[in-house]
Symmetry: C2
Subunit: 466 residues, 2 copies
């Protein structure tokens, strides 16, 4: 019954691939103000692509930040309705010198496409658009109702999507969210992600003297902000890797024995992992495995640390300030604001004499997310993946965060099912990000199967979500 749709997807593959190339060439870096026009250009490209797929109401809506793109096809009253979520913004490409090909060209090598954002989330979000086009062109209708919501601020924590979702609750209402963002755990085994960690971000500055000083003349008599910040951030962890901030673990809901057993059963070993990432040893909170540390335990990581002279050669400066960026990943039970306050208090308390510490205005925070294991949307996902890969997907956690899940649940009372065909090893947020092009078709077949299977599950959907 899906043959007409699958045939259409095969026949239009080259054109859809060219679409992807065009899409990734737009440097829609949401974190950097200078790229705001590119982010808008990407939004307009997405809206145009939705229109060309056959959706008549595609539109770009402004927010106080980057725009939101929406569209819908809702001509099956009574059928299940999903809200497809994805994001068209990307991370900065730094460090540029470590890319083997330019980040905003679409370079294809060995069956992969290399570009910033191709895996996170441009190729994955393009797949449901392709599938919608295939249904509408090959058959004139979708088997279910589909709404689309693509944002341009995922990489900066979705600061404006919450208000947008609340303001457009009626328009966006669906049985649940099907997220094209997320990603499979590994390339060799299909997986479904059932949880994501929360996030809290901090940035602070340590100031000593009012101006940069000559370290020969002044060294040894003033507190060097680089010494101070080192001591402060070093105090955030014990030597064993456990976070030392008072109360950091207080509200953590412990991992259940069942989840720990499932995780231990996954095909994973530290040696292969260390080869993959090129690190000499694993390191982290005692008493947990690597996967448990990545998925089910909270973390505190420095993402940036800088001060003084960082160029070529020596410069004998005692700098006036030093800076650090921190993000924490949170698990169920931890409140982002409370964690932030505890870290700020810790750093203030550990600021030595002779320096002052100031925090940047609070940015985004999001609690952790977990979907009920028997959710109908998960069951259908399992079925769709089995139809493409011939085996049941394994249930896994996700180390990263999708803060909008919390908004969807709070504002629209909808759960989120992650259904992405990116893979976690595709260098997202790093140089040489890539996407496996075979998954551009596998994903399209899986989304096709999902739409069909969900249409057959109308009773379960109604029972579970209405």
């Amino acid at each position: 019954m899906m043959d007409d749709v699958l045939t259409y997807l095969e026949e239009h593959y080259e054109r859809h691939l060219e679409d992807l190339r065009t899409f990734v060439r737009i440097p829609s870096v949401s974190t950097e103000g200078q790229h705001a026009p590119d982010v808008r250009r990407a939004a307009e490209w997405v809206a145009a692509r939705l229109s060309s797929a056959g959706l008549t109401d595609a539109r770009v809506t402004d927010t106080p930040g980057h725009p939101v793109v929406t569209a819908s096809w809702t001509n099956h009253p009574g059928a299940p309705t999903i809200l497809v979520y994805g994001h068209y913004d990307v991370q900065p490409p730094d460090p540029l010198e470590r890319w083997d090909s330019p980040p905003f060209e679409a370079t294809e090598r060995d069956g992969n496409m290399y570009a910033r954002g191709v895996s996170d989330d441009k190729a994955p979000m393009l797949i449901p658009i392709r599938v919608t086009e295939a249904f509408l062109q090959a058959r004139g209708a979708l088997p279910i109702n589909v709404k689309f919501l693509f944002e341009g601020e995922e990489e900066i924590g979705s600061p404006n999507l919450g208000a947008f979702v609340r303001d457009h609750a009626q328009q966006l209402q669906a049985d649940f969210v099907l997220s094209a963002d997320g990603g499979m755990w590994r390339a060799d085994v299909p997986t479904l992600t059932v949880s994501a960690r929360g996030l809290v971000a901090l940035e602070f500055t340590v100031r000593g003297p009012g101006k940069d000083l000559h370290s020969g003349r002044h060294g040894g008599s003033l507190h060097n902000p680089l010494h101070a910040i080192s001591r402060m951030v070093a105090s955030l962890h014990g030597p064993d890797g456990r976070v030392s901030v008072e109360g950091f673990y207080d509200d953590v809901v412990p991992v259940s024995p069942a989840i720990r057993a499932d995780t231990a059963a996954l095909p994973f070993n530290d040696e292969a992992y260390l080869r993959e990432v090129g690190a000499p040893a694993t390191f982290g909170e005692p008493g947990y495995s690597t996967l448990e540390r990545q998925w089910y335990r909270p973390t505190l990581e420095l993402n940036g640390l800088w001060g003084g002279y960082t160029g070529e050669g020596a410069k004998t400066v005692l700098p006036s300030e030093a800076h650090a960026k921190i993000t924490c990943r949170l698990v169920p039970g931890q409140d982002p604001d409370r964690i932030r306050e505890r870290i700020e208090a810790h750093l203030r308390q550990h600021a030595p004499p002779g320096v002052t510490v100031t925090f940047e205005e609070s940015r985004h925070g999001a609690p952790a997310y977990r979907i009920p294991p028997e959710h109908v949307g998960l069951r259908v996902a399992r079925e769709a993946i089995r139809s493409v890969y011939g085996q049941d997907p394994l249930m896994v956690g996700m180390g990263g965060s999708i803060p909008i899940c919390d908004t969807f649940r709070d504002a629209l009372d909808m759960d989120t099912v992650f259904f992405s065909f990116a893979v976690g090893d595709e260098n997202i947020h790093a140089p040489n990000e890539f996407f496996r092009l075979a998954r551009f078709q596998e994903g399209a077949r899986a989304w096709t199967a999902y739409f069909e299977a969900l249409a057959r599950s109308v009773d379960a959907v109604v029972t579970a979500t209405r």
Copy 2:
């Protein structure tokens, strides 16, 4: 008797000032390879300026690095001979955004000239050239023999000047070195510098994973190089500011009670100092005053620390590496190579599991320098300064380093007298470096007096240095 020379200096002041403007507009940044042509241009400018002063043998000599400029006037057999030392290279201007006027224009405000290198060392080294011109043009002769040696690598530790001096020992031989580099302690009281601290520089990299990773996916399971480097560099000092590296203080020759008494008698108080530098408190090795910490005690200072994402906004990266630059200031007794080895051993020992540490190839090191307090060159300097400022200069130490002093003593058995008219508060190695233009004349009068007074001291010179 000096009136003809002083009159000449007055009459040609505007032209000499224009020379200074031209000189500081050449961005002769020796630490950055891209500026090598500018450094050469500065050398050629200096040689041309020596020629126009009336010196017939001015020349630019290549080294494996930046060139050396020499010239001489030695037509008084039997009279004292000095070797005038200075440097025409400058520090990088970073951070550029903190300059109030462009670093390589000559901006004059409130009697000061603002430019990178104007105080360190372009205006001070131009003064003896002006004075030589004045003697030769007004009188047809100098009262003593003068040789000039200007290098272009002082800011990178003079890596090639040692070999140059050894290779040209005969040509450069003099009774002692009179250095136009150095600087007065304060603007309100004339001083003579009788010691300089030594220097050793290190740079190292801490590596964890082989590539930058997503801190959401991988955070908490690998040692983040930023955490590791923070812990490592924090371990270099105790909480009280004392250096924790084993053996760091072992070979230090203690400060004599006489020097401590002299230093305590200087017009200095911490409160005024803190207002000057804009810091909330002094901080450093217990048991010593601020001036003792700056002049007579060894230090270990971070000059740069960096890794991860340092741009606008957040980037959730677990970086593959982190970097630090360190310099130590040394005092008599400390061997630069031995101190470097001890610090490297400390850092290796404190590198936690899951990371590796590698050191950049060793750069320059220099032991501390101290001139005998009764040196004839110092006595003449005291006399020359008294003739301009009407009071005896105070004897002070210098926190910074002039590594070439050690070379002059080792290779040519010559002491170095510091005779500079820069002032220590002129933002050298920092944004908004400036030079007090009144000192462009005061210095010229003092150098004129020095030449005359040294000519009268021929017997003392012969006794002391031949």
